[in-house]
Symmetry: D2
């Protein structure tokens, strides 16, 4: 049972993993800047951009899972799941588009 | 500095714009790290992640356009466009997936 | 006919809407075939393909919402939400990629 | 050298392959309708929707490649490549979003 903590956080379990991935993404973005500054071959740069995008998607999925397991489950148990699910779907839609 | 080498670069026109966008993306990624550290609401974090993803897609499109107008056009004019187009399609595919 | 089985279905509310959209998608796919047969301009065909893709994403989101409001909520209430959420995340991932 | 035929088609080489894939997509969409009518498990339906989406992306890429190898190359050779590339980028963007 959760619900015991006041609000808790929704991604506690993965917080370190998420931060580590975000720091890696930050480093990759700086790496892309360097590639652009050094006039590296565009296709290599584009490949890196696609890699960062995939890394961000992975972070997004981790956050989504933490949010669902935390906030959404709690909301459902406390009988106000409708709004939580609506919000969840809205944010999923932002990622699918 | 570009311009120096004969073949030019393929995204010259937009190089500054691309670098500026990449620096903004870097700042956004750091902002997301802060949001995670401060246990901000996951949906707000996810919204930011989706925004960074969209910003990266825009950078990707700018690079793609520069590459097409530069390298691909040159390759076609020099009659070795086939390989250049194959490579272009491969990189587009990475973005569509 | 649904309604007959005890557990109901998870997208009851939207079943007609979903079927209607799928029939429209089917018609659009046939329309694209015709465009290809008639050698219509590729960019017009590609625009139609992108439209069908967006229509399918909408159907996917409707199914996802119905599934979450139905099966996932039920699983959480019956204390076996973990597997349901894992499965939900796996299917969301298929759409994000 | 192409350019010899009046307008030609831009995806001639793959026309049959594209039509075959589109007919398969049409059949898959009908299959999804049946799954919905029979109240099949949503996750199975969603998996099929994601498969159709991937099949459409493949068709889109084939059309894109045919268009680039045909119309875009021709436009570049005839020195009006700028508009053709702009149009190409616009349609790529529709797929990336």
């Amino acid at each position: 049972m959760e619900g015991q903590h006041g609000h808790g956080t929704h991604y506690e379990r993965d917080k370190d993993g998420i931060l580590e991935r975000l720091r890696k993404v930050e480093g990759q973005v700086r790496g892309i800047q360097r590639m652009v500054e050094e006039d590296r071959y565009c296709v290599d740069i584009l490949t890196q951009v696609a890699a960062v995008r995939a890394a961000l998607d992975k972070v997004g999925l981790m956050l989504l899972e933490g949010h669902t397991r935390g906030c959404v489950v709690r909301a459902i148990r406390e009988n106000h799941g409708d709004a939580a699910i609506q919000e969840l779907m809205d944010v999923v839609q932002k990622f699918i588009k």
